[in-house]
Symmetry: C2
Subunit: 186 residues, 2 copies
């Protein structure tokens, strides 16, 4: 179950000491909400997506659980994909510890058991409306992926359907390839 904190402002939320505990807390519609635990399927899909995207194109990098704060919301998507020239660096050229303050180019969410799909959908729509060009919503129970792109209805993809990625990333993935990563026995 997710737990809600009292109504607060975004600024006050970001000062709370526990929001980076695992699972992380998000700030949505004026209140803090803790993400649910993901579990084994969630963890495996998250790892597989990060690896596949990192290998596909050296100009982009995938990050699990990176805080994204913009448009009066602070979300921690399961995976965000950023262009190299978007990475927030400190003076020594290292990636900073804090999250980003803009909409990532591509955002991926993986439904957990007992997670509100409506809440996750709302987060993806928030990203798209603030500049994200692509959103994926994985539903491991249905073995489907809902694909969100700006200014159009989402597409619900299954099986051999090829997944749209950012135009400039040459990554060929079908839905069944992604869920095939869950299999461990021959």
């Amino acid at each position: 179950m997710t737990i809600a904190a009292p109504k607060t402002t975004l600024q006050a939320f970001l000062q709370l000491p526990y929001i980076e505990e695992s699972p992380a807390w998000e700030y949505i519609n004026g209140e803090g909400v803790q993400k649910p635990m993901g579990g084994g399927k969630h963890s495996t899909l998250q790892k597989g997506l990060v690896a596949a995207i990192d290998q596909a194109d050296t100009r982009y990098e995938a990050f699990p659980e990176l805080r994204c704060t913009f448009g009066n919301r602070s979300v921690v998507p399961d995976v965000v994909v950023l262009a190299n020239n978007q990475l927030p660096l400190d003076e020594s050229g290292d990636i900073i510890s804090a999250g980003i303050e803009f909409a990532p180019a591509w955002v991926i969410e993986i439904l957990s058991p007992a997670q509100s799909q409506t809440k996750v959908t709302g987060n993806i729509l928030h990203c798209l409306r603030h500049g994200s060009r692509l959103g994926w919503l994985l539903d491991p129970n249905e073995r489907s992926i809902l694909v969100y792109q700006p200014d159009r209805l989402p597409d619900l993809l299954f099986g051999a359907d090829q997944l749209p990625t950012l135009d400039e990333i040459a990554l060929q993935l079908s839905v069944e390839t992604v869920y095939g990563w869950l299999r461990r026995t021959s």
Copy 2:
């Protein structure tokens, strides 16, 4: 829980003797799936929506649980809204017992506990891609309504947000008005 029948064709599915039992069965992606039981909130919201839409405009009529078969899918949305001149009539001018074979102008689904939101979303997207002009997806747990319209991202509405209806229907409803129908004590 929903129950899946063996893979079959749409024609064979429509001959099955039990598909109009309650809850009704739907035919999605090549297999029959029984809708889950709705429960009290579902029943109350369905009744309220039908009454509100029927009162709003005499040129349109709302129907609960009307089978809609088109595009190799057979779905039974919680509410569909049809123009009077679209109603399927028999020789005596009565409404026929069978469902319709086209996409309804407006389709409404109400999430039930344990229902797959992805499956319901897929049904709404199917309707929009085949000619429906409006889709609502109610999530009673979140007290929100996702509004689908052609060729654009859905909108996630809450609280005092006014709900888009078909342009020609003068119906003023906010999300909180709809969920207010659930309250029975003062």
